[in-house]
């Protein structure tokens, strides 16, 4: 089973930390990455840029309807782009790890080892297998997905 560890932190605090201290903190993050790899639990990771670099796209107005061919479309609305995140929160999503774990207990054990657990919340969520109507995984989440 795959899990996403979503690392939250106050990005204003994060960006105010001097570069050399940040490098020291990143060392532990690198070590964590190494440990995941050695244990065969690592899938993917990335840090995210601060939310002031993000844009949010959203449909304004109109109405969502499912067409006869199955597609969902908005009628009468207009796509808008706004600066910043979708929701303003005290702590922001700053990065993620996708890991392989036997179950939620194991995933939480890995989350507790993540250095980021010391300074911000980590949301742990299972990834869901998504298979298209030919039975082919277009978003493979673990080894059990049939791949043709």
């Amino acid at each position: 089973m795959r899990y996403m560890l979503m690392l939250y932190a106050d990005e204003k605090v994060g960006t105010s930390i001097p570069a050399d201290q940040m490098a020291k903190a990143m060392e532990t993050m690198y070590a964590y990455h190494e440990a995941l790899s050695k244990a065969g639990a690592f899938v993917a990771t990335s840090a995210l840029a601060p939310t002031w670099d993000s844009k949010t796209l959203h449909m304004e107005g109109g109405e969502v309807r499912q067409r006869d061919d199955g597609a969902f479309v908005n009628e009468g609305g207009e796509l808008k782009v706004e600066d910043g995140p979708y929701v303003e929160t005290r702590e922001q999503l700053g990065g993620y790890f996708i890991i392989e774990a036997a179950n939620m207990d194991e995933a939480l054990k890995w989350a507790a080892r993540c250095p980021a657990a010391q300074w911000g919340p980590i949301e742990v969520r299972p990834l869901v297998n998504t298979v298209d109507h030919f039975g082919k995984a277009w978003c493979a989440t673990d080894g059990d997905v049939p791949v043709s």
Binding site: K24, E27, A31, A35, L108, A112, R113, A117
Partner: protein
């Protein structure tokens, strides 16, 4: 009345600590309904907190609580059961209430049977420790969940399910026969010791000391209930040895201090003496089990640090013995660490070579820490750096993390 409420609350707390498990065990012994017994007891404690401040604390609080809880149980049974089954149930309870009323000072202690029930093979292994913590000590699902790193709601559900299993599958509420005792006792001791190690290492410092305290309390309880079992004494001795060093395993700035570097004047002499006495008694009774051997290893460490005697050969022999019993990779690792002291790091590295392919140690922090330490000692700096980096990544404790970062910095600069 002034202060009466406080006094009653304190008395209730004292009784709760001493008697919770005894009363749950007694109340659930015949019905096997642990959850029902706990509900009834919770109501009895609630009544106590209401009436004791006004009426005073009864002479025999246990008997008082038992009587009230029995009444609640009877009410619940009356509501739940069909007429016939309910009558049988009520008669059974009435008999026991009479028996208890006749000898209120002598409520039979069935906690041992309850512990064997909680650690029964039919109970999922991971739930045995939480179940004992709740039924014998009355710890809340919330407290237990924090130590086991799962959500309180999930822990609550699992505890309810485990108690349901006791009732439905009719797990015997009894002390096993002599022939089955060693194996079943091992499960009980493992569950108690697991509580101790949870409190000792896995979770930083918050809330952890409480769990080690409770585990030692359970250890003393099981030694008092089974005075002839050497392994029970061995396990308590092992916990007391570890507990004796609590004050020395952290530097004033919170940094982790390994055993060889600990200031032995910070060790708790009373606890060391108690551990040694227990181990002595256990060894006299024989036969030697896992906990006795592990306690003996700790005893040899104490002797070395206290007197300067070379106890490494004895420690190696004890690990060999332990490996024959457990065949565990953890024992291989710990033996290798001792071997490094006796014969040098190269011999130790050769000894842990087979573990490199063992999946069970791939995310075992002490393996990577020991490996990195040994590689550094034989001058393989780059490989040592790599292994200590993995050890750092597997640590959840900030103090251990800081220690390893220091080691990595030394390797980089040296």
């Amino acid at each position: 009345m002034t202060g009466g409420g406080n006094e009653a609350a304190r008395a209730a707390e004292r009784v709760a600590r001493e008697s919770y498990g005894r009363l749950v065990a007694f109340l659930a012994a015949r019905t096997r309904d642990v959850a029902g017994a706990e509900d009834a007891l919770a109501e009895a404690f609630a009544s106590a907190l209401k009436s004791w401040p006004a009426d005073g604390v009864p002479a025999n609080p246990d008997a008082w609580l038992l009587t009230v809880a029995r009444r609640r149980q009877a009410d619940a049974a009356r509501r739940r059961h069909t007429r016939l089954a309910g009558e049988e149930h009520l008669k059974m309870m009435a008999d026991e209430m009479d028996a208890a009323a006749q000898s209120p000072d002598d409520i039979p202690d069935r906690r041992l049977a309850l512990m064997f029930t909680c650690a029964h093979p039919a109970i999922e292994k991971g739930m045995r420790t939480p179940l004992i913590l709740q039924t014998i000590l009355g710890l809340t699902a919330q407290d237990i969940a924090a130590a086991f790193l799962i959500s309180p709601a999930t822990m609550g559900q699992r505890l309810v399910r485990a108690k349901g299993r006791i009732k439905e599958t009719g797990i015997p509420f009894a002390i096993p026969e002599k022939a089955d005792l060693p194996e079943r006792l091992e499960a009980v001791l493992d569950a108690i010791y697991a509580a101790y190690t949870k409190g000792w290492a896995e979770i930083g410092e918050t809330g952890a000391p409480r769990l080690t305290e409770e585990a030692i309390w359970l250890g003393r309880l099981i030694v008092s209930l089974l005075p002839d079992e050497p392994e029970a004494k061995g396990m308590l001795a092992l916990m007391l040895h570890a507990e004796a060093r609590r004050g020395a395993r952290r530097a004033p700035d919170g940094a982790y201090v390994p055993l060889e570097a600990q200031d032995t004047s910070l060790w708790d002499e009373t606890l060391v003496a108690a551990a040694e006495a227990l181990l002595h008694q256990a060894n006299e009774a024989g036969p030697t089990g896992r906990y006795q051997i592990e306690a003996a290893i700790q005893s040899a460490h104490v002797a070395r640090r206290m007197t300067g005697a070379d106890t490494w050969p004895a420690i190696l022999a004890l690990y060999d013995h332990l490996y024959r019993i457990t065949a565990s990779p953890v024992v291989t690792l710990n033996r290798a660490v001792a071997l490094a002291e006796a014969e040098g790091p190269a011999a130790a590295l050769a000894a842990i070579e087979p573990l490199a392919a063992d999946k069970r140690v791939a995310d075992y922090q002490p393996y990577w820490a020991a490996r990195g330490h040994l590689l550094a000692e034989v001058g393989k700096g780059a490989e040592a750096y790599e292994a200590l980096t993995v050890a750092l990544g597997l640590s959840a404790d900030p103090a251990v993390r800081r220690y390893l970062q220091g080691r990595l910095a030394t390797l980089q600069n040296g």
